[in-house]
Amino acid sequence: MSYQERQSLVSLISSILINTLYAAYMAGRYPQADPYSPEVFHFWGSFFLILIPVTIVAKIVSYILFSILNAIATREAEPPITDERDRLIELKSTRSSLYIFSLGFVVAMAALVFSLPPAAMFIILLCSGLVAEMFSDISQFFFYRRGV
């Protein structure tokens, strides 16, 4: 398994872990109020705003840990450059994840049209973001393994 394949798998696992742990932590803070009350919207606003820096920091930490552990286990250094194949794979996987997130956005808006509570819309947005991220990592792994 190449460095990039391992990196895709680590990114996939860290995405699932970060989102699951963060959602589990925040679920305990969900306001027991009317679903349309300002507190609920305040909760979801802060949920997404805090999620962004948490994800960035956790991803950086997982990336550093992966580099160290990978270097110890395989004695293989990180590829020094990003070449045209890496860029093509990144573009293709980003495109796939954008399609998934766009679909999730449409479903989230449909939830509002069908009079579901705002929490349903935010949960769909969160899930589609996670699924899009996972799909990006899986497609990167697939492209590195099977070819572009």
């Binding site: 990039q4 045209e84 890496d86």
Partner: protein, 73 residues
Amino acid sequence: MSKLKIGNNIRRLRFEHSEMTQQELADRVSVTRQTIIAIEKGDYAPSLELAFRIAQSFNVRLEEVFFIIHNPE
């Protein structure tokens, strides 16, 4: 229109050039070793620029490195 299958003689050319390693070729054309492996296996069709750089590194013409695999139909 069906996708063209492109083959290559990189492995043979490497051995004809003092058993050049994949890493040495990768360094010469500024890509990663994984990309050279993918090209050799036919998993990745390089850009025209990279194809020319590979041919240049072996001092041969492009057609001597890459060729079209015709389907027997």
